[in-house]
Symmetry: C2
Subunit: 403 residues, 2 copies
């Protein structure tokens, strides 16, 4: 008898009809002779509706009360799923985060799960029940309700699966697997049968709608294999497995068009400049993605370029201008019409020339590369947003990812 | 420094605008130098919305899951009120039933509160916070969420007030007090400054929209004075006080038009007949209100008449017919066009002739009395529904309640 943890996201439980379907799927899995724990997100737009209510009072509220409010979304969907399972004549119980023993840090809104006291989950499983657990939430040492940030239900599922020593953690979502690149942008993109945790992490921007990076990282740390599948269609999905088990040079292409670029030109070459700039951005909770620095050898002046999300662009520009206002030669340029394209592959580590092949593909299409950033298993280029689809096609063909 | 418990019902927190107003009121009370605990119901139609969601799956569901689902309504309103108080620069925290230590029986949907472990409430009060607590819900010995039935937030407030040894428990609602009779039916009905717990209990049907009978009973047991006030209007409201403190002969007139009458004529006069009939009705959770039995001395046959809510009428009729099917002479008559009118007053105990005065008032208006039932502080008559308003006016005038 295998122990399976399944996670269903907000769109998978977005209506009563869908909840009934999930109940059917879940029961079928149990009837194959498995023990089953199901982790659910809030129904469709519930969380946004709750935030809208709160916003009628204030935008900024106490994180503790925010968590208390927002966690009700999962309480509703979990109870409804348990009800739907029971209605189909199968034994089930819903547990909130605190009832399931999900213990978190004392901070709110984006806390980490510290531990899972799985005694109650195990007791309910032992009674033959399908245990439905609210994702996204837990309880801290004060007895207050906490949430673990958007997309946190994936992480809940992985942590609960690890605590239960589950055989597999299945992530049900609204796509049928991980693709070599976004199929909406390149119709002949190919679904991957397997991908490593590391590659999946780097594909985060592509995979954002599929799986939360923190969940992938947690799975990696816990050596937990994941299985991403479509919640309402048949199919083999994509397995996210330990990297030792596969060695593809390039697994896929990730893109992100929600970025903006800021260039700080002619920065004095004195120590602490970068620390000051990026420290100030971090203090305002702005997430900086790609950072590139180059030096004009003759003038002893640096150029620093970086990207942020389009949402953070204006705020970032203001902060950057304030910090650099004393430096007379410094010029600031900004551009929101950019996008990032990345190739990801665990095999890249031992395969030279992969980056060059990517640049070649872009060059053939006369696509100008504005910034380059590389990691051991990823090469990212910042290009004009308009060229993104053309770039995807060129790179996909170059690496023959459709094969 | 007084400790005040205030309860706001669903309509009082029915919109964000109203929640903001409640926050203002609550802060004003605190600023008068009081410690404050606020018990809230779910916003307006939230509970009905949740039930509608559930009904899309099944009408009858596991009571445990029902409670888990339905309790989210109060979690939302409590968090929003705490947020609104904080937004008006006052310190506040929301606590769910389990966080507030509200311990209940193990049954669901209509459990009783067994105890309140008020340590956390007291700790938060000691920190100068306005403590907002979800009404209507608690936790049982298994760690499951329970609810205490419709209108249960009143009971929550009273029990919490008693546990904290509060100076007063104020019930804020959408009427400005308790009236001698329903002002919608008799415009010159008079607001009472005080009423005893016992009278308020008997006025339950009139007071249903004002305060839940169980809450009044709990207050009576705990010798807790209550103060019913309008949530968004100024006014003195009505105080519900210990009966020793007042002795009015007739305080008010209660009416209930949501009743139906069933008459079982010519029942054999053998022991156990009534027990069998009302036992069967009780087994189906049908609440029988007035019961009247009379005997035909010559034939040794009884007539038993009783009333149930209009909702339970068909079911009750069916059960009654099934039970009496063996008795050849028995006839069953039913009537849904009836209403109950009652006079209530603690002074009735020591004032003879009160019932006669009521019958006289009805007789003058040629209103036929179909059934009579009396208690120490109440006289109820079942009359034709069409005559209800005329009956209210006649009795109100007879006892000069407008004075």
């Amino acid at each position: 008898m295998a122990l399976i943890v399944q996670k269903y996201g907000g769109t998978s439980v977005g209506s009563i009809e869908k909840i009934k379907n999930v109940a059917k799927k879940v029961i079928a899995t149990k009837n194959q002779g498995n023990q089953l724990v199901v982790v659910v997100s809030a129904m469709g737009n519930t969380t946004d509706d709750l935030i809208a209510l709160k916003n009628q009072i204030a935008e900024e509220v106490s994180p503790r009360e925010y968590d208390t409010l927002i966690s009700t979304g999962e309480n509703i969907s979990a109870a409804l799923l348990a009800i739907a399972i029971q209605d189909q004549k199968e034994n089930s119980i819903s547990l909130t985060g605190w009832q399931a023993g999900v213990l978190t840090e004392d901070i709110h809104m984006k806390c980490k799960i510290l531990d899972v006291d799985s005694s109650r989950i195990k007791a309910e499983l032992a009674q033959g029940k399908i245990v439905v657990i609210t994702g996204f939430q837990g309880i801290n040492s004060k007895g207050d309700i906490t949430t673990i940030g958007r997309g946190g239900s994936d992480t809940s599922a992985v942590v609960i699966a690890a605590a239960l020593n589950a055989d597999v953690c299945e992530i049900y979502t609204d796509v049928d697997g991980i693709y070599t690149t976004d199929p909406r942008k390149l119709p002949h993109a190919k679904k991957l049968e397997t991908i490593s945790h590391e590659e999946m992490l780097e594909m985060a921007s592509l995979g954002a709608g599929v799986m939360h990076p923190r969940a992938v990282e947690t799975a990696k740390v816990n050596k937990m294999n994941l299985h991403v599948k479509h919640s309402h269609k048949e199919g083999t999905g994509t397995q996210i497995i330990m990297s030792g088990e596969k060695t593809q040079v390039v697994s896929g292409i990730a893109t992100d068009d929600n970025i903006a670029k800021i260039g700080v030109m002619h920065v004095p070459d004195i120590p602490g400049v970068a620390a000051k700039l990026f420290g100030s951005l971090a203090a305002e909770k702005i997430n900086v993605d790609v950072i590139v620095q180059s030096i004009h050898e003759i003038k002893k002046l640096n150029d620093i370029s970086f990207t942020v999300s389009k949402d953070d662009y204006k705020k970032s520009l203001k902060i950057t201008k304030a910090i650099t206002s004393d430096w007379k030669e410094t010029q600031i340029v900004g551009d929101t019409k950019v996008a990032k394209i990345s190739i990801v592959g665990i095999g890249m580590i031992s395969a030279p020339g992969v980056a060059a092949k990517m640049f070649h593909a872009l060059g053939k299409e006369k696509i100008n590369i504005q910034m380059i950033s590389t990691s051991e298993i990823k090469v990212s280029c910042i290009i004009a947003e308009d060229h993104l689809v053309k770039a995807i096609r060129a790179i996909h063909d170059e690496f023959e990812l459709h094969k």
